[in-house]
Symmetry: C2
């Protein structure tokens, strides 16, 4: 689709003036749908800010109310499909094309709509490549974004959850696009400016604050001994020998366990100041004890996390806090930081196949990737070296470059009993049924350096053939069909060669791998560790309330 | 080095107030060195904006004047080493550590200073990874940036050459750092805000406008027939068969030739609307005829190019132009766009070895990389597909991913007669003498998809072994020692298998490969093509003046 000339912007703005009044950027909430009808034309590419955390929910609802007889065939470009309204635009015939990065709770419904041909998916992206395409070949004609506050000139303040807003606004504003922001309030003077008013055409005060989810909070009470064991192995087999100082953690109880045993297990091994100094990570509450123990020098953030605002503000020496005293996060820059300034990505998955490919896709759900493929890939454009990167490269047999450490942590069986190790990923079936050119593999096997289960660690860097890699994976797959296909002798051989490490090979007595290592064992203890500054969202306070 | 707490920022600002006066961000030019002495402490990490194009030259000079008895051991973090003042800080003992991305005219002097132990290089980076590290482990305590204009609140307007400024300012401002901007003028009202005043602590009006170089301008008069031949092969062997729509061009006469034969040679092959629609590129003047011919849909820009301002403003449908009517470029986002939203990078090099590794490093010069390694690498985190990416992946034998097209264009001999193909890169010697852990390879052989010389095209994707790759390279290395080691029979064999293509194999009659294909043959003709809007810098107008 060829972009229409800029002059068309003038016509759209003239129509909008009949809705909002001339000479103002403020649009009353009740006229939001009328505004969108004035500025959006059939066939437009529209970016709506559906972030990992915060949502432009009011504008999403306004968009879903458009009359499909007047506005139709829209091409939606958005990071996350999170709300029913995000799919309603397709069900109602307002939009019919979608390019996105992640669909969490809506993944099943999305798959149904694709099967029913209510929409066509262009591609599933990582966050960073979706932003990249917004600048190049998926340039938005209209961008609907969300911020905390605006002033009357249209300057925006995002508060700690800056996330995608500056990038989406920049992509649209400098392509003759029209930028509309929903805000919680209009104020005379902003705490700081996150997006300058020249980039914003309209501001809509929303009747209620935008929706935001505490997606990155894990209750320490739910961390099990197996998670602690895997965390201990991660530190012993990866953080310590590779001297990993700069890293990114995925979400999950296993990585939360790592965060919580830094000040105990890792400190006891003398690793304070030697590993895990620089994080690229949202402000996980489970990071508080490590920060308070002086383990962590700094944390660069994709977004924020509900309840962490006051604590983060109090640790401006650790988090990216502005002169106004609040966090500014930036998902695009954090993805860049994760790719180019981290030596380790460690995260979980649902399925791993014999080649080490992993995926969270299942046949009936189109979940997407988010940021994991970007983090969980070797950045071949990287040129600076660190001990971690050089050692990983040497182990992999590289002579001219290092390697990123990409660690997948997974229990051999999922909570529902399904095996995590499979001969064939469900992603292959999904690709066939959804008509994708390639299966949606989250992390490719040839990018994975280590797989950690409750049984042990497989170092895939040291494997010199696909067969060896497969044997290493079977060795840590435990009591699954996949694991039982391997003889104990073959596993012993891999142990002798340092490719497979069982807990005992790492000097870990499994009986000692318990929750006792956790520096905080509950949300309450995290609050205490924060000096009372962490304010857990209601859903995480339930246990406390029950106990009171 | 552990970052000091934020409270120290307050002390620094208090000292600065004694220089500039309380309650103002404006610092008179004559007090610039005093201001820097007030805010910088020994051992600080300091980012100075030395961009690919514009330079914070006044602040660089002020920094070089600091008294090393008071300010010393600085750790400089900067994209480009471009000015004598950038090295003077090391010669004078003000700074002793350097992390950077590119050193053009200063590369020889830099190598001398390293040999004399006047400074220690941390690493040579790509632009994008240097920004990434500024957010993570090379966070600047003080950032010295440059913009066109500021208002009295400290809001900055960069004009078209936005380049690195927002990224450097963000990295420093949200780490308790201090941001100082030199500007050409202070105005009451800015055309637009590029960096909000909350991110800027001090503004220094410079006595003269900042230095900026037209680095991306190539005079069509200097393009030779050989460049045209290579451009024709690039279009016939790569753009056309892979349907390359999204791409990035390096700088050089060969890529300038491609730009100038799009509206002639490529159009004659029926490729308008089918290839080269979306560029990630500075506004190269040699792109004007293709834009005017409707060949190019849009161009996203790292920076701008001197003289192109009015033309770019007139083509807001093509370039990222704001509501103020001027380009906003963004080097960080453009690097992301080049990595994740381009299917092709094509650029030149100085040396290629038998493995296909290429480098611009020579023993006596530490030049660095700039952005080339980032562009010239396969982005393994990419997940969306295009015909170009899928075809490249299939040819390379990939089953689960595509491949980026990375094309190196090089004449078999350099203008000084030195062979471009060598058994061993000078980069290996440089690594040894400078003490680098790895040789500074610009583009790794295993990331290169095609090498094009005036003799032919080698498709490395189709090579299945290092030996085959080497043979393909020797086949296009022409009359060099490197090329003569190959028998004509071996080359014929590679031609039959479609690995090597000579001009005749591509249907190109070498006699017709002449400058006649160029849509503009001189700077004057580019001006004409732009409708008189392109205003060439003085150094490119010389020929015209001589003829007048």
């Amino acid at each position: 689709m060829t972009d229409r000339p800029l002059s068309n912007r003038t016509a759209r703005l003239a129509r909008a003036a009949t809705v909002c009044g001339a000479g103002t950027k403020l649009c009353p909430a009740e006229r939001a749908t009328a505004l969108l009808e004035a500025i959006i034309e059939p066939g437009d590419r529209v970016a709506i800010e559906g972030d990992n955390q915060k949502q432009a929910d009011f504008l999403a609802a306004a968009l879903a109310k458009l009359d499909p007889a007047r506005v139709h065939d829209l091409h939606m470009v958005q990071s996350v499909i999170a709300l029913p309204e995000h799919l309603a635009v397709f069900e109602r015939g307002v939009a019919n094309r979608l390019d996105f990065a992640f669909a969490g709770p809506q993944s099943r419904k999305l798959a149904e709509l694709v099967a029913a041909k209510a929409l066509r998916i262009g591609a599933i992206h990582t966050y960073l490549e979706l932003y990249a395409r917004m600048l190049v070949d998926l340039t938005p004609r209209v961008a609907l974004v969300v911020a905390d506050k605006a002033d009357r000139d249209g300057n925006l303040y995002t508060g700690p959850n800056t996330e995608d807003t500056p990038t989406i606004a920049e992509a649209a504003a400098f392509r003759g696009g029209i930028v509309v922001a929903q805000v919680n309030e209009i104020v005379d003077r902003l705490p700081r400016v996150d997006i300058p008013c020249d980039w914003v055409d309209f501001v809509v005060p929303s009747p209620k604050p935008y929706l935001i989810d505490p997606l990155f909070t894990r209750d320490p009470a739910k961390i099990r001994n197996e998670n602690v064991l895997m965390a201990m192995m991660a530190i012993s087999a990866v953080y310590e020998p590779y001297q990993v100082q700069r890293l990114n953690h995925g979400i999950g109880y296993a990585t939360a366990a790592i965060e919580l045993i830094l000040p105990t297990f890792a400190a006891q091994r003398g690793l304070k100041g030697k590993v895990a100094r620089h994080f690229v990570l949202n402000p996980h509450p489970t990071l508080i004890p490590a920060i308070e123990a002086g383990f962590v020098d700094n944390v660069y953030c994709f977004g924020s996390e509900l309840g962490m605002e006051r604590y983060v503000s109090s640790r401006a020496d650790v988090f990216p806090v502005g002169a106004d005293g609040n966090l500014r996060s930036n998902r695009a820059l954090a993805q860049v930081a994760g790719q180019y300034a981290c030596d380790l990505f460690i995260g979980g998955t649902l399925q791993i196949d014999a080649a080490g490919n992993s995926s969270t896709a299942t046949k009936d759900r189109i979940t997407g990737f988010g940021g994991a493929p970007n983090m969980g890939a070797d950045a071949r454009g990287r040129r600076h070296d660190t001990p971690a990167w050089l050692r990983a490269g040497q182990e992999a047999g590289e002579s001219l470059r290092g390697r990123k450490l990409v660690v997948q942590m997974v229990q051999t069986s999922q909570p529902n009993g399904a095996p995590s190790f499979v001969e064939r990923l469900d992603a292959f079936d999904l690709a066939a049924s959804a008509g994708f050119a390639l299966p949606p593999v989250m992390v490719h096997g040839d990018d994975v350096s280590h797989v950690i289960t409750e049984r042990g660690v497989a170092n895939l860097l040291r494997c010199r053939s696909p067969e060896e890699r497969e044997a290493a994976l079977r060795a840590v797959a435990g009591d699954t069909d996949f694991g039982r296909r391997q003889s104990p002798e073959a596993t012993d051989n891999l142990r002798h060669r340092g490719i497979v490490m069982l807990p005992s090979d790492l000097g870990i007595d499994e009986k000692t791998a318990t929750r006792d290592w956790l520096a905080a064992k509950s949300i309450d203890e995290l609050v205490t560790a924060s000096g009372g500054l962490y304010a857990p969202p209601a859903k995480f306070r339930r246990t406390t309330v029950a106990a009171a």
